[in-house]
Amino acid sequence: MAARAAARCCCLALLALAAILPVQGIERIQLSIGDIRAPGLSVQGVELQFAAGSKGPELRIAHLALGERAWRGLHLSCPEADAAFPEIRCRGGEIRVGAKRLPLNIDFRFDPLTSAFDAVLRLSSGSTVDIHHDGGNLVEAALTRFEIGELSGDLAGFAAQVSPALAAELAQHAAKGTVDARLAWQQAGDADPHEKLQLQARLSGGSFSSPDGLQAAEGLALSLDLTARALAAGWDWQGRLAWEGGEAYLHPLYLQSGPVLQAEGRLNDDELVLRMATLELEGVDQFALTARIAREPPSLQDLTLSLAGGDLAILGPHWITPALAPALADRLRFAGHAGAGAEIRNGQLFSLDLVFDGAGLSLAGVDEGGEVRGRGLAFGPLSGHLPWSATAPTRASLQLEGGHWEALSLGAFDVDALLDGGQVAFGQIRIPLLDGALVLDGLALEHGAEGWRGQGGVVVEPLSMALLTQALGWPSMSGILSASMPGMRVSTGEISLDGALVVSVFDGYLQATGLRVSEPFGVASNLRADIEARHLDLAQLTDTFSFGSISGYVDADVKGLELAGWRPVAFDLRLASSPGSYRRRISQRAVQNIGALGGGGAIAALQRGVLSVFDTFGYRELGFHCVLANGICEMSGIAGRERPDGGFPIVRGGGIPALDVIGYNRRVDWQELVDRIQRVIENNVAPELH
């Protein structure tokens, strides 16, 4: 408090004046001035000497303190001076600190009777500092075209003495720019018992860069208006800082000029307080904050922030994606509006509130080469409240009006979750999908050093295959798909599902177990599963895929199925006629198609004549085995029926007329096979027989 009292009471006391003042001029002046004290400034032991006939007036300051830095033995001498009552004038004065000369010249005029004082400091760069003291309570200063680079150049030594930390920062960040400023300092007086400061400053052509280039700006133009009044508790201030030009990269954010900060607060020896500040920012209707910043060492203690009417289409790419998911910059899209509130207490995040209003979020799909493609995943419009607190669990409630996953539309659903520190426990989430639903039960996630991990259960409420195949653009199938997978585990890069997904289709069923999804959102998205299919009606199946006609039933086991980008890349498929007694016929067209798929020489040459005579044939059993790996399908036919000539029967004839389909190509390029199947299905063209 003593220091503040001294600061408020800046006293310029004339302790002694000894002068002989003949009418013609001043022969000798000796002034001893007492202490000058202002915030961050202390001047002690000031002596001014002037003697006629000597080189000029000389000013000595025994002790000068600026902030925490202090100098002893300041000495000003004037090579050109005159003294005509009542003034002392100096031109081209030089200032030395000890033996070292500062790189500037000073002109000044001083009236010892009124203490009025004018000075112009000229730096070698051409910039000037004009100081005017009216002898009363007002000191005015103007800084013209001051180059910040000087503080790392000619004035480096001086800057290092004023603030070693600041000087080091300026030099390390190669700070440059031109500053013009006007300062008016009204000391306390009878008219106003409070000291006042008024500052207008403008930076142009500003730039800086940290050595790694992660904190940098170019072409900066800033303007600052600041007024301050000294009160018992410190300086009350208010100001406006406008970023008028230039660009900055403050890792990971790229920012451009436009923001304007208006703020008011208090500054004292201990802290800087922003009582209320508003920030004009593109994409935000209102942005307000308060803060408390400790001065030694500088650290953010408390902060409250509130943002209203945030346009996510603007804030998303500029702020959210770079900060939270830079890897998805090309694929993430935002829409709608959001508000936010945050509180930091004692340097720690204390609470965070997010409010969404018709917000939308989408993640575009990506193809195997990493190119953005497909509809991907999207949610929204999304509304609701997501609060988080460091000290107590909070409940988030979001309402989503829909979304889509690739070609599948998602219906409206709610998300309720309990947030506790880094843990999220979701209530049941039921996402309508076609005429069924995807239900996430008891999903709990925890955020740790390696990302999110957790567990829960997944249920797919029955949905019709007719609608699903229609939505996916597949050949129409009837049946029902449902799933119960109570053991879902989520870890970085992988989701595994214990339980079964069951599709009742073609009068039989298909069951997928051991489902694992790896890297779900990247180029390496990959699904693994084992599939067991039983009693599939071949008549329906072949009809669906326009593959000719086969009556009968088939069982299939697919071990180690792996889909990359929804295309099978590995499996061990074994297909065989279902046991039991039922009609087994195969059409001429189906025989031709199977033969074509088997590659050249698939049908015994002797039987080709028979093929053209009859429309359908009886068969005893079907069998097919394909192990897909590295793009090659290693084929074999009905188990245990290998032929001595190396052929493998796929269809074993029976009844009248009977016909065998025998494969000879054991290694078939999978892509070629898929292309052939597609041609057969799409063109419905009879394949060429060899």
Partner: protein, 135 residues
């Protein structure tokens, strides 16, 4: 003594198994990741050459001297580096998975890191012993 021998043996066997991990293993996911990384490499190469980015000791790519890139492009370079690192992390996980040992991820990562650094052309920046050096 017997337990010590048994412990030592099992440790040596574990080490032998670990050492036998196949880094060249190829799966469709690994191929997709490599294709994606190869495609991105055309954009990354000039950044390696200029020293804007370098190969870090942890198997990632680091933005080590952003000042080599115009200010307005630093954000997109950071996004490019993040995308590359997402692919690299997925690659390490996938190689470990393909070896039937997901827990090897950290070893796969450090082995790949050393390999990237060893194979980097002269003039690129690599991280060795915590400091950046130009090869």
């Amino acid at each position: 003594m017997r337990w010590l021998t048994a412990g030592l043996l099992s440790w040596m066997m574990a080490f032998a198994v670990q050492a036998q991990g196949n880094l060249e293993i190829d799966t469709p996911a690994i191929s997709a990741l490599k294709a994606s990384m190869k495609q991105r490499h055309a954009q990354l190469r000039p950044l390696y050459v200029s020293g804007a980015i370098g190969l870090a000791a942890d198997g990632s790519v680091a933005l080590r001297d952003a000042s080599a890139v115009p200010l307005a492009q630093r954000g997109s370079v950071n996004a490019l580096v993040a995308a590359e690192n997402a692919d690299r992390s997925a690659l390490y996980r996938e190689v470990a998975r393909a070896n039937q040992h997901p827990e090897w991820e950290a070893d796969v990562r450090s082995t790949f890191a050393q390999r990237w650094i060893d194979r980097a052309p002269a003039g690129w920046w690599v991280q060795r012993g915590g400091t950046w050096v130009k090869k």
